[in-house]
Symmetry: D2
Subunit: 439 residues, 4 copies
Amino acid sequence: MTLDRYALAPMKDLWTLDAQYERWLRVELAALAALEEAGEIPQGTAAVVSARARIDRKRIQVWETETGHDLVAFLWAIEETVGPDGRWLHYGLTSSDIKDTALALTLVSALDLVYGRAARLGEALGALAERHRDDPILGRTHGQWAAPTTFGRKALVWWDELRRIQTRIQRARDGIAVGKLSGAVGTHAYFPPAAEEKALAAFGLRPCSVATQIVSRDRHAEVLFALASAASLVEKVALEVRLLSRSEVGEVAEGMPEGSSAMPHKRNPILSERLCGLARVVRAGVSLALEDNALWHERDMSHSSVERVLFPQCFTLVDYLLARGADLVNRLVVFPDRMRAHIADAGGLPFSEGLLLALVRSGLSRREAHDLVSRLADAARDQEMELARVAETDPIVRERLGPEEIRSAFALRSALGNAPAAFDRVREEGYTSHGDRDV
Amino acid sequence: MTLDRYALAPMKDLWTLDAQYERWLRVELAALAALEEAGEIPQGTAAVVSARARIDRKRIQVWETETGHDLVAFLWAIEETVGPDGRWLHYGLTSSDIKDTALALTLVSALDLVYGRAARLGEALGALAERHRDDPILGRTHGQWAAPTTFGRKALVWWDELRRIQTRIQRARDGIAVGKLSGAVGTHAYFPPAAEEKALAAFGLRPCSVATQIVSRDRHAEVLFALASAASLVEKVALEVRLLSRSEVGEVAEGMPEGSSAMPHKRNPILSERLCGLARVVRAGVSLALEDNALWHERDMSHSSVERVLFPQCFTLVDYLLARGADLVNRLVVFPDRMRAHIADAGGLPFSEGLLLALVRSGLSRREAHDLVSRLADAARDQEMELARVAETDPIVRERLGPEEIRSAFALRSALGNAPAAFDRVREEGYTSHGDRDV
Amino acid sequence: MTLDRYALAPMKDLWTLDAQYERWLRVELAALAALEEAGEIPQGTAAVVSARARIDRKRIQVWETETGHDLVAFLWAIEETVGPDGRWLHYGLTSSDIKDTALALTLVSALDLVYGRAARLGEALGALAERHRDDPILGRTHGQWAAPTTFGRKALVWWDELRRIQTRIQRARDGIAVGKLSGAVGTHAYFPPAAEEKALAAFGLRPCSVATQIVSRDRHAEVLFALASAASLVEKVALEVRLLSRSEVGEVAEGMPEGSSAMPHKRNPILSERLCGLARVVRAGVSLALEDNALWHERDMSHSSVERVLFPQCFTLVDYLLARGADLVNRLVVFPDRMRAHIADAGGLPFSEGLLLALVRSGLSRREAHDLVSRLADAARDQEMELARVAETDPIVRERLGPEEIRSAFALRSALGNAPAAFDRVREEGYTSHGDRDV
Amino acid sequence: MTLDRYALAPMKDLWTLDAQYERWLRVELAALAALEEAGEIPQGTAAVVSARARIDRKRIQVWETETGHDLVAFLWAIEETVGPDGRWLHYGLTSSDIKDTALALTLVSALDLVYGRAARLGEALGALAERHRDDPILGRTHGQWAAPTTFGRKALVWWDELRRIQTRIQRARDGIAVGKLSGAVGTHAYFPPAAEEKALAAFGLRPCSVATQIVSRDRHAEVLFALASAASLVEKVALEVRLLSRSEVGEVAEGMPEGSSAMPHKRNPILSERLCGLARVVRAGVSLALEDNALWHERDMSHSSVERVLFPQCFTLVDYLLARGADLVNRLVVFPDRMRAHIADAGGLPFSEGLLLALVRSGLSRREAHDLVSRLADAARDQEMELARVAETDPIVRERLGPEEIRSAFALRSALGNAPAAFDRVREEGYTSHGDRDV
C-alpha cells in the first residue's frame, strides 16, 4: 500500500518476507549447532543440515495453505530439502523461539540503521548550529515577539535533544538484544539453558533471564518509545521550519519547496508538513506497543497481528523522518539579514525586560516597574513608536535612568551576552549518556 | 473529582497548591542567593528576603484575579511581604524558570516515591516466586493448555520485568533532574550560567545544557513512558490473577474479593479488574506527553494545561497501581493442590511435545511425528482417554517406543526439569541495569 | 486535583458524590414503584419507602468500609432509614441496573449542558461570521499566502462544523438515553420487562433491547466521540486565533491576553493555547472509551475505574472548552484594516491564479502558463516588485493580454466575487441534520 | 508490507494508484463538463477532452520527478494526451478540489463495502442467536459464575450492537458524501457554485456548504469512529470466543483452530486472537483522525501523510475484521451440552439470587438475607455441597421457606423465565435507526 511511498533502503529490505525466512533459518541452524555441541543430538547433524537446507517459498506457501501456520509451513518445507537429518530441526523449540529471536535480530539491525540516521541528523543540526551560532533572531513565545536569541541556539537545542534520543535508541537496542530458545513455555524442558546461551551469543544476543513462551513485550514497547521520541524531534524541527518560513516571517525557507496547481506563486514547505504528519503516526504506535504487553498466561497471540503492522510501519516512518529531516536541515535556506531586520523592526519591544530590570536596579519595586514598562509598551504599540523613545519621555524613567542606562537596556549585545554559553557547555560535555552536565 | 478515590499519601501531598507555592518560593530564594553570590545584586539581600518572605494564599488569589497570571500573582504577593528588597526576587528570570525547576523537583520526588512503591512490589513478587518456585501449574498459551511450568516462574517473570521498570524509573529521574534559570528565552541574558549551576546544585538538579524558555518536553515524555511501563506490569499481574481466579480455574483468589448486590455467592476479583482499567488511563498519557514536545519557537503554552491534568493524574494512578498491586500479590490466595489436580486432569495432552520428540529421536521425520501425535491427541480428546493410553495402542508408536520411553515422555519431572534454571540465572544477576546477563 | 481549575457550574454539580447518591435513590424508587404497579410486591410499599428513605453519607461510609462495595453500602444505609419495607428495595435488580441507569441520567443531563454551550458558541460564531462577512483577508495555505478570502468565511466554516457537532451530540444523547433494569445478567429473571419499561419511561429513558449485566459501552464511546469532536472544533478556532495574532500577523488579538513575568510588553494568547491543550486531553479519551467496550462475558469491571476518571474529566473539559471558546470568540479583537493592508502588501502574489487563468483563456497551455507565472512570481519576489508590474513587461504576457485583462486578474473584487455564496447556501439550509444541502 | 496479509478484494482495489488516477480523471472531467454547461468555457470542450484524455503512468512519473507534486504531474501528463483543449482542465480548481472529491468517492465506496460486510456479520449473528435462543449457559461476570442466561442472548447482544454500527456507518457515509470544487481557498473565485453542485451531483455527492481549501476533517474523523466502532464489536465477539473456548470451559471452539509447532495437541483460537489485535490498530486511528482536523488557516498539509497511511490501513483492516468475524461466527462450533453440564456442576451457586429473594419475600431484611445466603454459599463451596442442600439445613431458611420454595429458587426455568423477552423486543423493532424502542 502507500507506505511504500516512505520506504527507504536499506531499512525496507529488513522487512521483506525473504529476509524473514532467511533469519528464521539462521536461528534454527544456530540452535541446532548449539544442541549438537551440548551432546543432545547426533554429532555431525548441524553440518549436514546447514549444507542442505534451502528456502523454497513455493513449498512454504503450499504448506501454509495446508496447515495455516507460517512457521510450521516453513519448517516442513525446510525439512523436505534436508532429508532425514532434518527431523532434528526445531528440536525442543517452539515457534516463538524462532520468531522472537529473529525479531530481535531485525529490531537490532533496524535500530542500528535508525541510530545511523539519527547520527547524520545530528551532524546536520550541529553544523547548522555552528554556522548560525552568532546570528541573532527574535525569540518568540506564545507566537509573540519575546527577547532575542540566536538562530544557532535553536539548532543547538535540537542537537542537544538528539543526544538524548541516541541514548534512548542505544538503551532500547540493549534492552531488545535478547533472544529466547527455551521451548513451549520457557522452561527449557527439552533445550538446555547452556545451549540457548551459546546459540544466542553467536548473534550477539543475550537470553531472557526468564521467559514465558515469548520475550516480554515491555522491551518492544521501549523500542517504540525510542522511535516516537526520535519522531518527535523531527516534528519539532519541522514545525519550526514551517513557522519561520511563513510568508510574514520568511526567515528560513525549505530548500525544495513545492508549488500549487492553482497558484503558481506558491512555494510550500510540504516536506516539513509531511514530517509533522508522519511523526504523529509513529507517536500513536507507543500505546499499541504498551497494550501488547499484558497477555494471557504464558502468551496469547493478540499482539502478533498488531506487531505485523506496527513494527515495519514505525521503523519505515522513523527511518524516513530522520533521513528526510536531515535533508531538510542540510538544504535549509536561512536568511540572517531578515532575522536582523525583524529585530530592528520590532520597535524595541523585545528589550522590555532590560528596561524593567534597569528600573528595578534603580530601586523601584518590581511590580511598579512591571506596570510602568507594560504601559509604556502599550503606548509604543499604539503610537507606533520605539519603546526606547517612549521611555525617554516618561517622567519616572527619566528620574531614575540616564540616557546611557536606557541605551544599554535596548542593546542587542547585552540581551545576547550569554547566548554562546550554551555552546561552551555542550562542547565540554561531548556525548555523555545524557548530554547533561553532572551536578 | 473522583481521582481522589485513588490518591494515596504521601504522593497526593506533592500535588497540592500549597506544595507548589512552597516549591516556587524555594526556587526563587535559591536563585536570589546564587545571584548575590555572583555579585549581581547587593550583598545581604538574600538573607533579608528569605527571612521575610511569606506565602499568603489570599493575596495571591487577589493578584491572580487582577493579572490572570498565576506566577506573577505569586510574585507580587511575595514582594508585598518582603518590602523593598523584594524587588530583587525573580531578577533576570521568567516564570518558566521557576515553574519548570519546581516541576523538576516535584517529578524527582514523585519518581522517588514511585521507585519505592516499585521496590515493594518487587519484594512481593520475589517472595511469591520463591514461595511457589516448585509448584507445578499448567502452562497456558492462547487460553489453551500448554506444557506445564511452575507458578513461581510466573512471578519470576514479573519480578524480572520489574527490574527493567526500576531501571526506566531511574533513567527517567536522571533525565528530568534538570532545572533551568536562564531567563525569558534561555540565553542567560540577565542571569549568569554560573549562578544557574550554583542555584540548581542546591536542589540536586543539573542545568539544561541549552534551553528555550522551558525545559524540553522530551524529558517529561520519558517520565510518562516509565510510568506507563510500570502500569503495564501491574496490568499484567492483575490480568493473570483475573484469569487464574476464574470459576473454572480457581487456582488463585484475590485476598479480599468483593460481593454482588444481587448474587450473594459472588467473590469477584475487582481489585485486579480495577488495576487493569487504571493502567489503561496511564498508558493513554504517553502520547499526550509526546505531543507536548513540539512547541512553537521558544515555547507556546499548549502543553501547560495538558500537564496540569496529566502529571498529577498519572503519578496518582501509578502510585495507586503499584501500592495496590503489591497488596494484591501479598494477599493472593494460591491453591497449589488445584494446580496439580488440573495437570492430572488434562489427560496427558500437555505432554504431547515429549511424545513428539521421542518419536523424532526414534527416527521419524518431524512432520510425520507431528501429524501422528496430533491425531492421537484428537482421539484422546474424543474418547476422553489419556493420551499416553491412546499412544500405547498406536502401531507406529509401539514399533518405535518402549513403555519406558512413553512413560518418560509423560513425566512431569522431565517436562519441568530445567524450570528452576531461571531462578539460578536471576540470582546470579542481581540488580544490574537490565537484569539480563551479558553476552 | 487541578481539574477543579477548569470545572464550571452547573456541569461540575453533576459529578459530585451527593448528586450520584440522589440519582441512585431516584432509580431505586422508580423501580420499586414499577414493581408495585406490576403486582410483584405488596401494594403501598413504594409510597412508604419513598416517604422514609433518606441518604446518610456517614452511614454509607461505614457500610462501604465494611463491605467494600459502594452500591451495597448505599443500599444497606437506605434500608436502615426505611425499616422493614426497605427490604423490597433493589428487588430483582443488580448494582449495574442502578448505576448504569443513573449514569445514563447523568450523561443525558451533561450532554444537554454541552449542547447548550455548543449552541452559544454557535451564536458567537454566527455573529462573527456576519460581522466580517465582507472583510477581505489573505487566505493562507501551508502557512504561505494564498488567494484572498474573507474573515467572515473563516467563522462560517466553524459555524458550519458546529452544526455537525450539535447533530453528533444529539445522536449521542439519543443513543445513551437508555437504562437497564433487567437484573444480574440482563435476563429479567426477577424484574419483568414491562416494569423496566415503565420505570425508565419516567426518566425519559428507553430500555436496552437486550443487555448483559450492563448497558453496552459502544454507546458511551459514541458520547466520547461527540465530545472529542466538539473539542476539536474549539481547538480549530483557537489555533486560528493563535496564528492570526502572531506578532508578524496581528490581524486579531485575544480580548484578554496575558502578560509575562519577565517581559512586560507581552500580550500572549494564552486562552487559545490552553484550549488547544485541553482539546488533546479530550481527544485521548476516545480510545479509552472504545477500549471499554469489549468486556469478558456478561461484564468485567475493568471499564469502571476508567469511567470514574474519564467521564467527569472529559465532560468538565468540554464544558470549559465550549464556554471559554465562546468567550474567546465574543471578545476577539479583529483588525480588518490590517487584513486589507496585508493583502495590499503582498505584491500581487495572491492573485497569481487570475493571471494564470487569463493566460489559459488566451490559448496558452496550462503547463506553459503555469511555468510562466511561476517564473514571474519568482522575479517579483526577487526584485520586490508587484507581480502585475513584472507581468506587464513580460513579452509573452504582453502579446496575449491587454492592460485591462491584467488589471482584472489582480482585482480583489474578482477574486472574492463568489465568496458570499457560502453565506447564501448556509442561510438556505438552516439547521438540518447535516447542514449540507441535499443532492 | 505485511498489511497485504489482511487485504481482501474488492476493498483493496479501491486503494491502488491506478484506481486513484482513474477517480482523479473522472472528477476533472465532470468539473469540465459542468463548467461548459455554465458557459464558462467553449462549447464542445468537454467532449473533446473526454475522448482524448488518457492516463499514462510513465509520463506521470516523469512529471512527478520534475515537479514533486503528484496532482500537477497527473495534470501535465493528461494535458499532453489531449492537446490544446487540455488547457481547460482544472480551470478554476486547486489540487484539493480533485483530491478531496475523489477521496469522498473512495470513502463512500469503501463504506458501502464495509456496510455490506457488516450486514453479513449481522446475518451470521442473527442466525447464531436464533439457533441457540434457548440454550442455557452460565452467565459470568468478573470471570466468576453468575446467574444463568442463554447462549443465544449473547449473540443477540452483538446483533443489537451491530444495528447501531450500521447506523453509524450510514451516518458517516452521509457525512462524507460531500465534494468540493470551489478553488484555492474555497471562495469559488473562478468556479461558480452552481457548476460545483452540478458536477458533484453526477457522483451522488453534495457540495460542502462552505469550505477552506479542503473538506473539513471532522467528517473524516466520524468515518474513522464508525470503523473503530465496528472493529470494537468484532473484538467483543472474538474475545468471547477466546474465553468460552479456553480449555477449562470448552463451550465453543473455533471452526478452524491452529496447531503449534511444539505441542501437537494444541487447537488454538488464533483467528479470534488476531481479530482482537487488529481491532486495536483501528481503534488507535481515531485519535489520529481527530488530530487532522485543526489545520493552519485555509489548510496545512500535515494531515495528508497521515491519511495516506490511515485510510487504506483502517479500511483494509475493518473489511478483514468484519469478513473474518463473520467466518468466525458461521464456523463456530458450539457445545450446548457442556454449557448445560457446567450449570449443573456449579453447585447451585448461580441461583443464589433466587434464594435471597425468597428470603426477602419471607420478610427478612435484604441485608440479613444477603449475609445469610453469602454464608451459606461459602459453606457450600468449602464443603463442596449443593447450595440448595446447605440451605435446607439452615434453621433460618427452614423456618421461613418450604421445600417447594427452595426448589423453585434453584429452578433453571425460573431463572431464565424472561430471557426470551429480548428476542421479542428485537423482533418488534426491526432495523430502526437505533434499534432501541421509543419511550
